[in-house]
């Protein structure tokens, strides 16, 4: 094997000076919830670790996760795909095609046995031998299982891979199932959202790369750094909720003054994500700021928890120190969330999840 460069060496060779490098690490450190104390450890890791091969598979999906990924503002996407990781297989970006592309996947699986990351965008249809998603003449289901077998860890990008998303909504015609219901005996990180925020995606990879361990996950397998609190808890419109000042109709007086969207069906009170703190597309805005209620796109079964414009029957807790582990069970869709939580917990504990395909 040829010499592998560390992230720091790559940055240096790209003309990024020490100061810029430190700045990047500091930002990352803050986003990962490590604060200033995490910085030295992160710097050390960046300076000594080689690039980890990543195989990025696409199943039943819409590619919104890939599109979100390439919007990352820090680090920039060129740094990620060319320097930070070795993105050796990705239907969306790879130069190679057909059997030459499949050869790359098999080569990495062999050469880096147990040392590559499997990233999955989308999920697998399980009905009828998997004929509803076929890649290279085989079912995506088989390709997924084969590629997962020797992966170090699995990242489930987006709500499709994490929880099932739109094709898994009732009546789920293709039998689409999220990754954790199909893969067992592997650590799985769920990064839900339709799509997830770009910097949440790159931050999750950076955490694994930097510390050589999975980020701490909550009961639904999500990194606590990004899914620890509800959108409602950090929403800048929260004072209007507490004051009982609500938008009643788009473009009414309340909408023009930026009041709370709870009565328009906002799912912020039951949705765990970083939208209201990190915001989207480099911190420009997020759905509530743009005047539309949150549709809860990072929660399990959110498509079946609607209609989107119907207000929640009750807001479960309003304290700002609550987290998903403590109150997830009382949120809307509690039963479904429980099933998913159980399955993910099992997967992480390397128990068999084979009998967990019920829906």
């Amino acid at each position: 094997m040829k010499k592998q460069q560390t992230y720091a060496e790559i940055m240096e060779s790209r003309g990024i000076d020490r100061r810029e490098f430190m700045k990047y690490c500091s930002l990352l450190s803050v986003y990962l919830g490590l604060g200033a104390s995490g910085l030295p450890k992160m710097l050390k890791a960046m300076e000594t670790k080689p690039r980890i091969p990543v195989l990025w598979l696409h199943g039943l999906e819409c590619t919104c996760c890939s599109e979100s990924f390439i919007r990352s503002s820090h680090p920039i996407v060129a740094d990620i795909v060319l320097n930070m990781i070795s993105l050796d297989y990705d239907d969306t970006l790879s130069a190679a095609a057909g059997h030459q592309l499949e050869a790359v996947r098999k080569q990495i699986m062999k050469e880096y046995k147990g040392k590559y990351i499997l990233a999955v965008e989308g999920n697998a249809p399980t009905k009828d031998n998997g004929v509803y998603c076929m890649v290279g003449g085989d079912s995506f289901l088989n390709v997924l299982k084969e590629t997962a077998a020797d992966a170090m860890a699995v990242i489930s990008w987006g709500s499709c891979a994490s929880f099932g998303c739109v094709q898994n909504a009732k009546p789920n015609p293709t039998g689409a199932q999220p990754v954790h219901k199909l893969i067992s005996g592997k650590p799985i990180i769920n990064v839900p959202g339709c799509p997830p925020i770009a910097e949440v995606m790159t931050g999750t990879i950076a955490h694994v790369l930097t510390f050589g361990t999975l980020p701490e996950l909550d009961r639904l397998g999500r990194p606590k750094a990004f899914y620890g609190t509800r959108i409602h808890d950090k929403c800048y419109r929260r004072p209007y909720f507490d004051a009982g000042m609500f938008v009643e109709s788009f473009d009414d007086e309340g909408a023009q003054k930026g009041w709370c969207l709870y009565k328009m069906g906002c799912k912020g009170p039951t949705t765990y994500n970083s939208c209201s703190s990190m915001k989207w597309n480099g911190g420009v805005s997020f759905p509530i700021q743009a005047g539309h209620p949150c549709i809860g796109c990072s929660e399990p079964n959110f498509w079946d928890n609607g209609p989107f414009y119907s207000r929640l029957a009750a807001v479960p807790f309003v304290g700002t120190d609550s987290n998903a582990d403590r109150i997830g069970m009382v949120a809307v869709g509690a039963a479904a969330a429980g099933v998913a939580a159980h399955a993910i917990g099992s997967a992480i504990k390397k128990k068999s999840a084979d009998n967990d395909n019920e829906e």
Partner: protein, 574 residues
């Protein structure tokens, strides 16, 4: 003996596509078969849901053209319920749509298509000084010094020498069909990276109005984002100034990077001006209304159809609501109609009963004499049609839209090729650039329109008159459409008792990537591939060039919808 070449997966597209070709003795493509290999069944998922939610479901058909299904969806619900949106909502939707097209085309050219023409490894032997001279001779773009390219070359060399080639692993580097000199390859690699960095800026306009991208939010009745120049929580001058800056920067990037690169690269591939033409039939529903979506005469992209490459005439009788004009066939698709394996239906009468009859998995080849795709086969007035940038540009060109006529003539003159060269793989790729320049201009146009309205005190963005389902008729039908980056997109809805009774979609890539029809006639991909000479069948670069020139979107294509409540039949693998 005939040789069969399979390319599966096709990379750098959206979704899952497989191409099988049969070569003749001279390694020229004699037959081509296009197969969509995924299906998600959203039609059954949408049935019975709130029509006001439909935009979010259909938007998830595609996260690349992540706004077009939402626009078509809110338009079809508004059409059904008789909602007339305020002028500002028209402007903002048009601005978001123009933003999408511009950003999508830029990503396509550099990140999905460029590697078919640009040899990354060849760039390693470039003379940075020569690259600099070329760059400065074609554009005033400031990042063009010898030092800039020298630095890039050094970084690229380090990257390749690391032994981890990442996304560039196993590309067809060194293939004899790559014609660019090393200096131009280095220039293209530089702009591949710059465009990757810049595309995320363009899309921030979606974040301002839709809260996020991908998948910004929409609303039936207008837009959700309020405007008040004297308030701090909504669209005010700060956000408007951000939009203006993005629009200006976007126009600069398109005009100083994309268009000069397109022309510079195209000059080395002029032989592709006579390869990959295909059907010669072009269709566009049109879009970007200046008045109202029901007034096609006001569309900046005009509606119409061209048949048999006839640039003297546009057929303006395009009516997607006319039951006789559009039919979807299933002769070679894994579906049945009323238990029968064949036939054609208008989307208003459509059915989607999946029935896989392909080979057992895993398979080496599909049985292309039988059914071989999850895509249906749409036909307009019984003609196979190509949709997309080339169709739109040709129709606008023939109809005499000033800016398009000027840009097309400029491109033809610069490349020194006749108008007939437009009917080709090169023409399709050039048309996308021409269109991108046009839609970047639209962005400015809509910004000016929005400012003019706000200036005169009009900040209304929403019509709430039909928001409450209690006010809806017991039953209503509507049609919504848009010109998506990849072509004409139509949504048909049937609302009954406040719920979705039936919802159908015909998407651009279904027109272009469809399998053969009942008469054995190919769709646009298959027709365009036929007759293509291949330098090395083991490395089918030429197939990628032509297929990518259409910008395939297979997650879209395999979601032809129908909600007649047909149960999914149990699929038996034969």
């Amino acid at each position: 003996m005939a040789k069969r070449i399979v390319v599966d997966p096709i990379p750098r597209i959206e979704g899952h596509l497989r191409i099988e070709t049969v070569l003749d003795d001279h390694n020229t493509i004699a037959e081509a078969y296009s197969s969509g290999t995924m299906w998600r069944g959203l039609e059954l998922i949408l049935k019975g849901r709130d029509p006001r939610d439909a935009w979010a479901f259909t938007q998830r058909i595609c996260g690349v053209c992540t706004t077009v299904h939402a626009i078509a969806s809110v338009r079809c619900v508004e059409d059904a319920l008789g909602i007339k949106i305020p002028d500002n909502a028209r402007i903002i939707r048009n601005l978001m749509n123009a933003t999408q097209q511009t950003q999508d085309h830029l990503i396509h050219f550099y990140h999905l298509h460029a590697l078919d023409w640009v040899d990354v490894v060849s760039a390693l032997s470039a003379d940075p000084k020569e690259t600099s001279e070329i760059a400065q001779s074609i554009s005033p773009w400031p990042k063009s010094s010898p030092g800039y390219f020298k630095d890039l070359k050094a970084r690229l060399t380090t990257f390749v020498e690391s032994g981890q080639l990442g996304i560039f692993t196993n590309g067809y580097w060194g293939h004899s069909a790559y014609k660019l000199p090393p200096a131009v390859n280095l220039l293209a690699v530089a702009h591949y990276l710059e465009a990757l960095e810049f595309q995320k800026e363009i899309i921030k306009i979606h974040t301002i109005f839709g809260g996020k991208n991908p998948h910004p939010n929409y609303a039936v009745g207008g837009v959700a984002t309020a405007i008040d120049p004297n308030a701090d929580n909504v669209i005010n001058i700060e956000k408007l100034s951000m939009i203006k800056k993005i629009i200006d920067d976007t126009n600069t990037f398109i005009n100083q990077v994309y268009i000069p690169d397109l022309l510079a690269v195209a000059k080395f591939y002029k032989d592709w001006g006579s390869i990959g033409g295909g059907l010669g039939n072009y269709l566009a529903y049109g879009d970007f209304p200046e008045t109202d979506i029901h007034d096609p005469g006001s569309f900046l992209w005009p509606r119409g159809a061209i048949l048999n490459k006839d640039l003297s005439h546009v057929d303006e009788d395009v009516d997607p609501k006319d039951l006789s004009q559009i039919k979807e066939e299933i002769a070679h698709s894994w579906y049945t109609y009323d238990g029968k394996a064949d036939g054609g239906l208008h989307p208003f009468e459509g059915q989607t009963n999946p029935k896989y009859t392909g080979p057992d998995l895993p398979y080496e080849y599909l049985d292309t004499d039988q059914k071989y795709s999850w895509l249906k086969t749409p036909r307009w007035k019984d003609n196979p049609m190509e949709v997309g940038p080339l169709a739109r540009v040709l129709i606008a060109y023939v109809k005499g839209v000033d800016e398009i006529v000027d840009t097309v003539n400029f491109v033809l003159k610069d490349l020194d090729v006749p108008a007939a060269a437009l009917f080709s793989t090169l023409g399709r790729t050039a048309a996308r650039g021409i269109e991108c320049k046009q839609t970047a201009g639209f962005m400015k146009h809509y910004y000016d329109q929005l400012i003019a309205n706000v200036k005169k005190g009009d900040t209304k963005v929403y019509d709430s008159s039909m928001w409450d389902p209690e006010r809806w008729p017991k039953e209503a039908k509507g049609f919504g459409f848009t010109e998506a980056p990849r072509g004409s997109l139509g949504h048909w809805i049937h609302i009954k008792d406040k719920k979705i009774e039936d919802y159908q979609i015909v998407v651009p890539s279904t027109w272009n990537a469809s399998p053969r029809d009942g008469k054995g006639r190919s769709g646009a991909y298959e027709a365009a591939l036929k007759g293509t000479p291949m330098a090395d069948p083991e490395k089918p670069l030429e197939i990628l060039r032509t297929v990518h020139s259409f910008d395939p979107c297979l997650a879209c294509a395999s979601h032809v919808m129908d909600m007649n409540g047909n149960e999914i039949t149990t699929v038996k693998i034969v």
